[in-house]
Amino acid sequence: MILDRYFENAWAILGLKLGAILVLFLVAPIVVGYAEHKVLAHMQARLGPMEAGRFHGWAQLVADGVKFIQKEDIVPRAADRFVFTIAPVLVVVPVIMIFLVIPFGPGGWWGENMDLGLFYVMAISTVGVIGVLAAGWASANKFSLIGALRAAAQLIAYELPLVLAAAAVAMQAGSLSLVGIVEAQDHYWFVLPQIAGFALFVLASLAELSRPPFDMPVADSEIIFGHMTEYTGIKMAMFLLAEYAGVVALSGVATVMYLGGWHGFLVGWIPGPVWTFAKIGALAFFIIWLRATYPRMREDQLQKMAWKYMIPVALANILLTGVFKVVF
Amino acid sequence: MTPEDLVSHVREATGLVERDELTPQGQAAVWVAPERWLEAATHLRTCGRCGFDFFTFLTAVDRGGDRGAEAPPPRGKPGRAQAPSPSVDQGEGLEVVCHVYAVRRQHHLNLKTLVPREGGSLATLSGVWRGANWHERETAEMFGIGFAGHPNLAKLELPVNFEGFPLRKDFLLITREAKEWPGQKEPEERHEEAKS
C-alpha cells in the first residue's frame, strides 16, 4: 500500500483514509450536482448557472451550500421533532459507509478491503430507506407520508433484482470482495458476460436512488418532493447530498462490478484511479441523461416491471452464469 | 334544422312554449313558464329531433334594478300566434337562460324563463345535463336564484361567507359609486368637454 511507505502507525493511515473519504463524499456530490445543472441545461437548450464563480458558474453549488446553511431550520409544529431531526442523518450515513469499501485504484486506493464487500454494500444501501420513512412520517404531512410509503414500496421492488444481479457477479468473480471482483476482471470486463445483469443493476440502482424515471417517491409534480416537503436549510441539504453522493456511490459500485474498476484499455499509462473516476463520471452522465429524456413511471408499473421482467431475467442470468462457470 | 323549424318543432312537440324569439343573427330562444322549466329541458334532451346533447351554459340576466322601471320593449321578432303569458312578460325579474347545442344536428337553442327577484326558484337541470350542476351553482350565488333538487348548491366562486348577489343590478360596485370609472371617455364626449 502506498501509505505504508510513509506512515508506520495503522491509526494514522486509517485516519487519513477516513479523511480522504469524507472529503470525497463532500466534493463528489458537488461535482455531480454541478454536472447535472450544466448537462441538463445544455440538453434543454439553455445555459445553466453562469454567474457564481465567474467561469460558467462553477461555484454555483458552493453558493447553494452556503445558502442552505444560512436558511432557517424550520420544524413544523405538528412534526415529531426527534425523528424529524434524526431522519436526514439516517439517510446520509449509509451513503458514506458505501464509500468506505469502493476501490478506486490498485494498491490501497480504498477505505477498507472487506471480504464481504459486495454483501456489505447491499446491506448498507437498504438502510437509507428507513431514514426516508422516518422523514416522511415525522413531517406530519400527507404528501410526505405518501412519498415515504412509495419509497418503501419501491424498495421491495428493486431490492431483489439488485441482489440477484450482484449475486451473478459474485459467482462470476468467485469473490465477494470488491477488490477481488476488480482483480477478477483483469482480462475482460464483466459487462460483457453480464450485460443483462448490468442493465438490471443500473435500473435497480436508479430506483434505489429515486432518480428519474423512477423518482416516484419524490415526484415533485405529484407529491411535492415527498419526504423532503417540510425540510429546509441544512437538513434539506443533507437529503440532496445523500442523493448525489448516492449517484456517485452506486456508479462506483457498478464500475467496480461491471466496468472493470481501475482497469483501463488501449492506453496503459493512465493511472487506475483516473479510470475509475472516468467510468463513474460516464455512468453519472448517463443517469443525468435519463433524467432529461424520460417521464416518470408509475409505482405499480415499476412493481410490474420488477416482478414480471427484472426478477426472472436476474434468475436466468444467475443460472447462465452458473452453467458458464461449470462448463468453462 | 333552421332556427324557425326548430322553434316551431319545440312549440308543437311540447306545447310549453309561451313565446319565442328569433334574432336577426339567426339565433333562437323559447320562453317557458318557470314551473315547466324541467319538463321543457327534458324534452330538449331526450327528443330525437332536438338532440340537444351539448350543454353550453346556464346563467341569468337581471332585468330589473335601477333601470327596471323603464320596462324595455320586447326585442327580436315578436313571437307568433300565442300571446305571452304574464309570467314571462317583460317585467322585472331575473331572466334565466339555458343555452344548449346539438352536436350532430348543429343547432343551438336558448331556453329562457323569468323568475321573481325575491325567492325565485327553478327545478334543477343537473339531472338532465350534468354540466348544469356548476352553472346552476354559479347562477345561484350570483343572482340568488334557488334550484330545487340540486345535489350541492354551495357557493362555487365566491367566499363561503360572502353576502349579497353580485351580478344583480342592485349590487353596486362600491368603488364605481364613489368615483366614476377613470377610463378615457368616449371621443365625442371629450370633444364636447373641450368645446364647453
Binding site: - | R67, L156, L167
Partner: protein, 391 residues
C-alpha cells in the same frame, strides 16, 4: 349496510374515532382526505381539488374554484366595449387574442358592422398563432407533470419566437388588445408575413423533438394510454369542448361547424381521438397545432390588401338592443359570449362561457377510481387555465 358488512371503530386523529363500514372479509380502512392545491405544482395556478384516498386510489374528487374570481362579468357592465376588449383578454391569459375576438365579433354582429376583408384574415392569422402559443404551454407543461423536464424548455423556446412576432404586430406579449370593434388597431408591420412564414417552417421542423420526447416515448405512452378515458356523450353532457371533446372522437369545432372570420375559406382538418384518454387528448392538442400552422400558411398566401378598419365607424360604439351568443373555437375549447344589450355603450349583461369552466366541472366524474399519479396525468390533460375557470 348489507348483511355481510360490519361497522368497526378505528382510532382517528388524537381524541377521536371514526366508524367505518366494511364488507365481510375485507379489512377496515380509513380514507385519507388530501388537498391538492390551492398551491400545488400540477394545478397551474390556484385550483384546489379535495380528494379522498383509499391507499393511492381516489374515491371522490371535488374541485374548489374561485381563488381567482375577479368578477369580470360585473366589471364588464361598467365598461364600454373598447374597454371590454382589454378586459376579456385577461381571463384566459394564454389565448388573449382569441378571447378578444369573441367579443369583437359579437358586437359587430349585433351592430351589423361589416369588417374589412384584410382584417378578417389578419385576425385569423393572429388567432392561429395564439393557438399555437397556447398549445405549446400545455404540451410543455404536460411533460413536466409526468416528470419529463425537457419538453417544457423546448416549448418555451418556440413560444419565445412566436411571442416575438406577435409583439412586433401588436406591441403586447400576453395581453395583445389588438382587436377593435370593426377591425384591428393597426395593419401588420412591414415584413411580418415573411417572418411569419419563416417561423412556421422553424416551428414545424422542431415539432419532431416533441414527437420523440413525448408522443413516441414508451414511458409516456404507458402513463397516458387508457388513463382517464372520457366517453364522448359524457363530455358533451358536461359541455366539455375543444381538444378534450375532439379526443373523444367528436369532431366538433366551431371553426368548421359555424365558421366565423374566414375559416370556411381555408383548408384544415379537425383531428379526433378514439378513446378520449389522456394520450388522445394530448395527441389531439399536438395535431391541432399542426393544423393551425397549416391555416397560417394558407393565410400567408391569400391575405388580401386593403384597410383594417371600416371607413365609417361611429365615434361611440353602442350595440343595439338585443342579445347574441357568439362562440369561437378558442385554444382550450368553446369560448362564448352571451351579450345582452339595451342600446347602451356598455353591455347590460355579458356572460362569459369559458371552456375551462366546463372542462374543470367534469373532474369529479373523471378522477374517482384512478391513482394519484394518474390524477396528475388526467389533470394535466384536462386543459384549463385557472383564470378561465374563475373569471
Amino acid at each position: 349496510m348489507t348483511p355481510e358488512s360490519r361497522t368497526i371503530t378505528l382510532p382517528g386523529e388524537p381524541g377521536s374515532a371514526v366508524a367505518v363500514t366494511v364488507a365481510e372479509g375485507d379489512l377496515a380502512t380509513r380514507e385519507m382526505t388530501l388537498n391538492i392545491g390551492p398551491q400545488h405544482p400540477s394545478t397551474h395556478g390556484v385550483l384546489r381539488v379535495v380528494i379522498t384516498l383509499d391507499g393511492e386510489r381516489i374515491h371522490t374528487a371535488e374541485p374548489v374554484i374561485g381563488y381567482m374570481h375577479r368578477g369580470f362579468e360585473k366589471l364588464a357592465e361598467a365598461r364600454d366595449y373598447r374597454q371590454i376588449i382589454a378586459l376579456v383578454n385577461r381571463h384566459d391569459w394564454l389565448s388573449a387574442f382569441c378571447n378578444e375576438l369573441g367579443v369583437a365579433i359579437a358586437v359587430e354582429r349585433l351592430m351589423g358592422l361589416e369588417v374589412p376583408e384584410r382584417a378578417q384574415w389578419i385576425r385569423m392569422l393572429l388567432a392561429e398563432w395564439n393557438r399555437v402559443l397556447n398549445h405549446l404551454v400545455f404540451i410543455g407543461s404536460y411533460g413536466l407533470e409526468l416528470g419529463a423536464i425537457t419538453p417544457v424548455f423546448y416549448a418555451f423556446r418556440e413560444r419565445e419566437d412566436i411571442q416575438e412576432i406577435l409583439e412586433a404586430a401588436t406591441g403586447g406579449r400576453l395581453h395583445f388588445t389588438f382587436n377593435r370593434i370593426g377591425g384591428l388597431k393597426d395593419d401588420l408591420p412591414k415584413g411580418f408575413l415573411r417572418r411569419s412564414a419563416e417561423l412556421v417552417r422553424k416551428v414545424r421542423n422542431r415539432l419532431a423533438d416533441y414527437e420523440g420526447l413525448l408522443l413516441g416515448n414508451q414511458i409516456f405512452r404507458k402513463r397516458t394510454v387508457g388513463v382517464g378515458a372520457l366517453p364522448g356523450n359524457v363530455a358533451k353532457d358536461f359541455g366539455v369542448s375543444g381538444p378534450i371533446l375532439q379526443a373523444c372522437g367528436v369532431a366538433e369545432d366551431s371553426r368548421k361547424t359555424e365558421p366565423y372570420l374566414r375559416y370556411d375559406q381555408v383548408e384544415f382538418d379537425v383531428p379526433v381521438g378514439k378513446n378520449g384518454d389522456s394520450f388522445d387528448r394530448f395527441w389531439v392538442l399536438f395535431r391541432r397545432m399542426e393544423e393551425s400552422l397549416r391555416i397560417i400558411e394558407q393565410v400567408h398566401d391569400r391575405i388580401p390588401s386593403g384597410p383594417v378598419m371600416p371607413p365609417k365607424m361611429p365615434k361611440t360604439i353602442k350595440a343595439p338592443e338585443g342579445w347574441i351568443y357568439q362562440r369561437t373555437e378558442n385554444p382550450l375549447g368553446e369560448c362564448g359570449y352571451y351579450l345582452v344589450s339595451r342600446g347602451d355603450k356598455t353591455p347590460w349583461r355579458l356572460k362569459m362561457r369559458t371552456a375551462s369552466f366546463s372542462n374543470v366541472s367534469m373532474i369529479p366524474y373523471l378522477l374517482p377510481g384512478i391513482l394519484v399519479p394518474d390524477m396528475i396525468a388526467v389533470l394535466g390533460s384536462v386543459f384549463f387555465v385557472v383564470g378561465d375557470v374563475d373569471r
